[in-house]
């Protein structure tokens, strides 16, 4: 028995090693090439392949929806994913590795910024082409990117600063409403907010102002939570911030000017994919800069031992304040984008369920880690979309998954890791 058990596992590890070896010198650039080829391939042969496999149409979200609705189509959905995504990506990535390594080295030697821009450009191209096949994909992608922003900003408070803040949906709501009121009252003839004040063509250029305004209002309101947070820690802050979330929700519900509990609609369509993508990139870049600087690491010092931080000249008050307002600002910006993606907001959206979702993303992805937050936000968004046909059972499976992560990796999937862009974009030659 034992011999029988051992052999396959040994073979498996050897196979795994060989696969790892095979792909160890593939840089990010060639993965992006592969992704680009795969999505272009889908454009041209997606219909034929899905018809040949007996699928009703191109699976919108990697076939999860089809698989859950019609279990008989599971093999064909998997085959579709393999043929259209996995196979081309792996083959192209491996084949282009030599070229991509050379290119990555060239780009990096000229300037790091250029290299980053090329990578992001390729990523955006792949996402754009992938999402162009259905509006559903565009929506999910936008929501996933916004989730990345919210998760990262919550990670600043709950991870790096080590407080347990529940007020993020409140900040999002403020950002969403402020940005919406700004754009709707200025550029749209609206039932509640009156006729447009400025020509609609100015709108897209003023949109960043709307978002920043929303972020600033959130940050100012965050003072309400931040000031008591200097006196209390742990449970008390959690309760204060939870109270804040409900205050914001009730406040909006009782403001008839913005539609009360019925919500506010009619936001102009400014949040297209590239706007959301750009804002997400800026958010990740700024937050990553912050948490990697000594000023940002001071948050971790305050969390781990405030007395020692004080004794080592760290201004603990300023550190806490900055972290809290900073996080609230980004939650507000994300809220503004969220409102313009859905083009409708109501206060009910920003409630305890939203909080649970964001917290799940932070703790699933990993505390104190930018890359963890990105992974957490993307995977939970995709998962909750994929499990949508299960309806209420979705809220059994996702928490269950969270419990499993907490048991096996108590701090999350990728916790306490620094996100060094250099490691991602550098060429990977065999040593």
């Amino acid at each position: 028995m034992e011999i029988k058990d051992n052999r396959p596992s040994q073979e498996k590890t050897r196979l795994k090693e060989r696969i790892q070896d095979w792909f160890s010198q593939v840089p990010l650039l060639s993965w992006l090439f592969g992704a680009l080829v795969a999505v272009v391939l889908e454009q041209f042969v997606g219909d034929q392949v899905s018809a040949a496999l007996g699928l009703p149409k191109i699976p919108a979200l990697f076939g999860f929806l089809i698989m859950l609705k019609k279990p008989l189509l599971v093999p064909s959905s998997i085959a579709y994913n393999f043929l259209i995504y996995i196979l081309p990506i792996c083959v192209i990535a491996r084949l282009s590795a030599a070229l991509a390594n050379w290119l990555a080295a060239r780009l990096l030697s000229s300037s790091m910024l250029l290299s980053v821009i090329v990578h992001l450009g390729l990523l955006y191209a792949a996402l754009y082409i992938w999402s162009s096949l259905s509006d559903y994909r565009v929506l999910i992608l936008k929501l996933a990117l916004i989730a990345v922003m919210v998760t990262l900003s919550l990670n600043v408070v709950n991870g790096y600063m080590g407080e347990f803040s529940c007020s993020h949906p409140g900040f999002m709501a403020l950002g969403a409403y402020v940005a919406s009121i700004f754009t709707v009252s200025l550029f749209v003839n609206h039932r509640l907010l009156g006729p447009a004040l400025l020509p609609a063509s100015w709108g897209p250029f003023m949109f960043p102002i709307a978002l920043i305004l929303g972020g600033v209002v959130s940050a100012i309101s965050a003072l309400l939570v931040a000031i008591p947070s200097f006196r209390t820690r742990g449970d008390y802050l959690a309760i204060i911030s939870l109270a804040f979330m409900f205050i914001v929700k009730s406040l909006i519900e009782n403001m008839e000017l913005v539609g009360g509990p019925r919500g506010l609609g009619g936001q102009p369509n400014y949040a297209n994919l590239h706007t959301v993508f750009l804002w997400t990139v800026v958010c990740v870049w700024i937050i990553n800069n912050f948490v990697r600087s000594t000023l940002g690491k001071a948050m971790s010092a305050v969390r781990d031992d405030e007395m020692a931080a004080d004794a080592m000249t760290v201004n603990t008050r300023r550190t806490k304040m900055a972290a809290f307002l900073f996080a609230a600002f980004w939650a507000g910006v994300a809220g503004g984008l969220f409102a313009h993606v859905l083009r409708y907001v109501n206060p009910g959206t920003f409630s305890i369920q939203k909080l649970a979702e964001v917290l799940a993303m932070v703790y699933f992805g990993g505390l104190n880690s930018v890359i963890g937050s990105i992974v957490g936000a993307l995977s939970i968004t995709l998962l909750s979309e994929a499990l949508r046909p299960l309806e209420i059972f979705k809220w059994i499976i996702i928490p269950l998954l969270l419990i499993l992560v907490m048991i096996f990796r108590p701090t999350g999937l990728i916790a306490f890791r620094e996100f060094d862009v250099m490691n991602f974009i550098k060429p990977k030659q065999k040593v």
């Binding site: 912050f290 600087s293 000023l295 004794a311 080592m312 760290v314 104190n368």
Partner: protein, 256 residues
């Protein structure tokens, strides 16, 4: 002029008088010691001077300025570095990050610099790293730079804490029981290191110690504290032979 002068400092915790009429005068470059039995109030005196508590009465003058009522980080940035009795290192940070953190008040790039990663920030961070490495090398912990501090042996953790305090470039260094929990080998090493940094940097050092051997060998002048009051002050030899000190440590001999 004295570097640190304390006049008639008294502190109450509620009705409990923890420190009574404490006076101290440290010249630049001096090594001073504070000894006393458990619970005498030694660490309370450190905490009072470093601003964690505010004294009920009295004044503390650091480098010509009264520091009573200032916040701990303000006092620290005026040139007062310290270590803790139970080593308060930050659990999740690497050695380099710990030592660099003490440069916090010397960084001028501000939050905007931190957010945008400006050239000024990169330059200042590099300078901070250089200074951190200088002190890590001095204390022999530079080979651990990228390790999480909790993975280091005990003695090395002690040295990391000292490197952290030194990289503030303080004028005076407070050491709260630097040899607590050390074996004889580590003890000899840390004493050599303390003497070395004193010679190289010429800073004033104020040590709390439990072990007589350490204070006796290191310090020029020693105070003995019992129940919050200084009962004896003098050179190591004077202290060693002071009958009051012997009583405090060993108890009175029963009259035969």
């Amino acid at each position: 002029m004295s570097l640190l002068r304390i006049d008639n400092m008294t502190h109450y915790f509620g009705g409990l008088r923890a420190v009574h009429n404490y006076n101290l005068d440290i010249e630049p470059g001096q090594i001073r010691g504070l000894i006393g039995p458990n619970g005498a109030g030694k660490t309370t005196i450190f905490n009072l001077i470093t601003g964690i508590y505010t004294p009920t009465e009295g004044q503390i003058i650091l480098d010509g300025k009264n520091i009573v009522g200032l916040k701990p980080h303000e006092i620290a940035s005026m040139g007062l570095g310290r270590t803790f009795q139970n080593m308060q290192l930050w659990r999740h940070m690497t050695v380099l990050e710990q030592v660099k953190m003490a440069r916090y008040s010397k960084l001028n790039y501000g939050l905007v610099g931190a957010f945008l990663g400006t050239a000024k920030r990169n330059k200042e961070e590099e300078e901070a790293t250089e200074i951190a490495y200088k002190f890590m090398k001095m204390l022999g912990v530079d080979q651990f730079a990228d390790q999480i501090v909790l993975n280091l042996p005990y003695g090395a953790q002690r040295r990391v804490e000292m490197a952290r305090a030194l990289s503030m470039e303080p004028k005076i260094l407070f050491l709260d029981e630097p040899t607590a929990g050390m074996n004889p080998e580590e003890l000899v090493q840390i004493m050599r290191i303390i003497r070395q940094i004193h010679e190289k940097l010429g800073l004033a050092i104020f040590v709390i110690e439990h072990r007589m051997k350490v204070v006796m060998e290191l310090c020029e002048k020693i105070q003995t504290l019992v129940f919050g009051e200084v009962i004896a002050e003098g050179t190591p030899a004077e202290i060693q032979n002071n009958p009051q000190v012997i009583d405090a440590y060993l108890g009175k001999e029963a009259v035969a």
